[in-house]
Amino acid sequence: MLTRWLGALAAVALAVGLVMGFGVAPREASQGTVQRIMYLHVPSVWVAYLAFGVVAVASVVYLWTRAAGADRVASASAESGVIFTGITIASGSIWGKPTWGTWWTWDARLTTVAILFVMYLGYLLLRAMIEDHERAARYAAVLGIVAALDIPLVHFSVLWWRTLHQPPSLIKPGAPTMPPEILAALLVNFVAFTLLYAYFVAKRVALLRREAEALA
């Protein structure tokens, strides 16, 4: 029931986000309509990082308490995280072609997200390849912790390797430089995507619980 409300809420928020992004927010002067991809791109990458953070916390909780619920949250969150990372990369590519003139470049943040993508694909692969549930949960939890601790290392190494991406435009010292309509549209989409992620996780966790009950 709660999940259904969460889903409805996410749908409404997404609809409002769409209207805000395409209707209310003004057309950006230098980039044109392409800039509106930001309303999809930036919330997706935020949700991806949130999801991988949740994986790490749930993994620690699982190893600590051995609660099957924590493992299900980790599994569901990793799946959602990979999806949103994929959306981030795809939308970034589509934005990059007209703006940077190339689908892909080994820019620092692009590379970081790409590495996260393959890292957590490996995580899902590990889960899929181990038949014993309890062992899969244990190994996945270890990998979930390793991967989270690796993120800062990946971030700095890739940053020093090269950088081209524009600096973060929202969270930085001083007042945001965006027009209020664009900022509002972006914030609404942040909320909408976070709700969508929560809905995905809740739905997946419920599904995994039923699966476990059916198999038991």
């Binding site: 190893l63 590495i115 393959v118 890292m119 490996g122 692969l125 590990l126 390849m129 181990i130 309890e134 062992r135 244990r138 190994y139 939890a141 270890v142 990998l143 912790i145 390793v146 991967a147 601790l149 690796d150 290392l153 990946v154 700095f156 190494s157 890739v158 020093w160 390797w161």
Partner: protein, 225 residues
Amino acid sequence: MTFARRAWIVLWKDVMVEARSKETLNALVFFALLLLFVFQFALGPDRERLGGVLPGLLWLGFLLSGLLALGRTFLVERENDCWEALLLAPGDKSAIYLGKLAGNLVLMFLVEAFIVALFVVFFDVALGAALPSLALVIALGTVGLAAMGTLFSAMTANVRARELLFPVLLLPVEVPVLLATVRATEAALAGEGLGGVTHWLGLLAAADVIYVVVGVLTFDFVLEG
């Protein structure tokens, strides 16, 4: 028995087994030689062009040999039916991890020394003054590689598609180590010393500490059953 003594026994056992059978080392040395041929054939004989990519090639060699060597860490125990004995070993399981890690480091250092020697001969790398800084970079990088390799090897030892899963797990995690070592090796081979790459060395040291600590802390969970 103290923690250090138990780790030492695991290391001693592995070194002894390897010294008597030379199974892994022989094959690895041969593999390293083949890699050198493959690099040469893939990139052509032009030494000028090869010069720029030598640090990358060197670490590609270490990485590929590492995938083979590290992936086998716990295979020996399975093949010889020693897995249960490992589980029965008294005390903290992380001693086994450190022993296995030390054994892997010995093996990797031997193979890496051989690969460096091959590079000196075939690619005409002038080591000389660069040797101490190169050795430092290789030592730091190898610890990072082996620490995660040993942990993941234990995790994949009981999986059917082990040969596939092990590199798929290890390679993304090791990206920072690879980026750092290649840059630092470039500086070392260019004879610039390591003064300009201290941030990379710091990153490597941080990675080593994080990987080894995580390995020690989580190994108990991996070797549970």
